[in-house]
Structure formats: structure tokens, C-alpha cells
Point group: C2
Chain length 140, copies 2
Amino acid sequence: MLNQLHHTAEDMIRHNGGRATAGRIGILAILLAEQQAITHREIEQRLPQEQQLDRVTLYRALEWLAEKNLIHKVTSDDRAWRYHANRDVQSHQHAHFKCTCCAQVICLDKLPVERNWPLPAGYRLQEIELTVKGLCANCC
Amino acid sequence: MLNQLHHTAEDMIRHNGGRATAGRIGILAILLAEQQAITHREIEQRLPQEQQLDRVTLYRALEWLAEKNLIHKVTSDDRAWRYHANRDVQSHQHAHFKCTCCAQVICLDKLPVERNWPLPAGYRLQEIELTVKGLCANCC
DNA sequence: CAAATAAATGCAACAATGTTGTGATTATTG
DNA sequence: CAATAATCACAACATTGTTGCATTTATTTG
């Protein structure tokens, strides 16, 4: 199963004209396997012992994956970015839930975010980031 | 005028049972004078030369002010918190605009945020944080 | 398949933001 | 004015992320 994801990951990377290195494939496979958005640290922990990457390499791989729209970054209030695979390329809406107790972050893809809010005159909207905070089922 | 704000600030602090120290009063007056949400660094810069505070003191004062609901923190994507005075105690809704060019953050208090979005079963909503990103009038 | 090369990696050093512990200082109270 | 509890300043540390550069590696080319 994880093997399957590695295959998928490799395809996604090659389709974007990038080198299919063990690091990138491993990272993307981990993100594909994960329902939640996870941190740099959590990705590191999920990488097999024999394939630990330098912190910088990890950051750069994530940057590259985000650039190619294979994953996206989620801003949080603990100043650690979390990452999540983009399963369906277009419809990512940046709506997330973060548990204030266990810090888990999940994607609320169904959440409709209106794009025509009134801004002050002369302002232009580019992107909406919406985070709902609360308690997850486990922490309730 | 700034004098007036100092007076207001001092009142707000005393009403919450805190010590009215020069630092706290100065910080709160600065935040009251500001339309935007500003960073730790920007607060430091606005403090008069003869009254510079230690970084830690500033952080702790901000923490205290936020605890007492006199100000609020705004999460951003550059992992620096921004602070803004709570003029009217109840109706703060955590809706903000951030310019992707100059990093300015303003409050969009008028923005209505619905509080009854569908969450997964067992999840409880506590707070909604919404940031609209785009270009401000100056940067357009 | 081997060599060439552009891309990716690892290491060291740095930067920014924020936190913790502790002894000194100060606003407030009586 | 003295007592005292709150606040402050300093030092040291933690976390997250970035930059520069020499080394390694995936891919391409002959």
C-alpha cells in the first residue's frame, strides 16, 4: 500500500519535470498517506531510519512540491507550517480545522468560502485562509 | 493626543487589576493609536528611545494584555504575531486582511463570519480565524 | 555503458521569533 | 515609609526556517 503510494508519488514528481529522488518520493508518499496536515517534524519522524534527510533538504523538497502544486502549506498559530498533499489539483480552498488541545490539523475541503467579500476600496483579493479552531472528537 | 491614549490605556489596565507600569501603558497606547495589527518589532520601534523595553518584557506584557482581552493576537504566515487593540470588547471576530506585498495587516471587523459550519461529528468549534490575503491599495 | 551536466543534497553557519529561570527593581498597599 | 507581590532585565536556550557552498546523484547524451 505504501509501495503503491511511492509509485503514485514518483509519477506525480516526474510529471512535473522534477528528479525522482528517494527523498522527494518518500516525503510525498508520506503526505499522500496522511489525512491530516503534518509538520516538518512529523514528516521526519515518519521517514524510515535508513533514509533520514537533512532538515534543509526536507525544507527544500517541501518548497519544491508546493511550488509544483503537489502539496500545500497550512499556516498555523504555533508558527510551524503544516503540509498536506493536493489530491485534486484545482479545488483546494485553504479551509482547515485545528484542534486547540492536540494541535491536529485536518482539511475541511467541503467548506465553501465566498470569494466576494467587501474589501476597502483599492484592495485586491488573492487568497483566503480560513482556520476553524476547536476541539476534535478525541479531545472533546 | 498620544497623551490622551496613555490615559485611556492606564484606565484599561487598572480596570483589569494590573499594575500600571510605564511599559504596559506605553505598549497599549501604541496599539490604540494604530489602525493596523503590528508586530513585536514594530511596537519596539514606536517606543520612545528613553523607554525601550527588554524583548522578554514586551512579550510578557503583550501576553498579559491579550489575557485580559485588551488586545488580540493575529496569526500570520510569516510566523510573527501581530497585535491589535480591542476597542470594543465583545465583537471581535478575527477577520483580517494581509497584503502579500508589504505585509501590512488590517482588521476587517465588518466581515461576517458564520459560526455554524458543518464540522465532522464530535468536533466542537471554538474560534474562527480568517485571513484574506491580497494587495492593499498602496501596492496594487 | 560511460561521461557530462544540471539538479539535488548535506553541512555549517546564521537569522528571526519566542520562551524559561532567576535575581533585581518597582508599583501598590497599609 | 516599609512590606510585598508583581513586574522587569538579563542570560541562556529552544524552535523554525534560510543561505552559501562544496559534494553527490539522477538523468541525458554520445
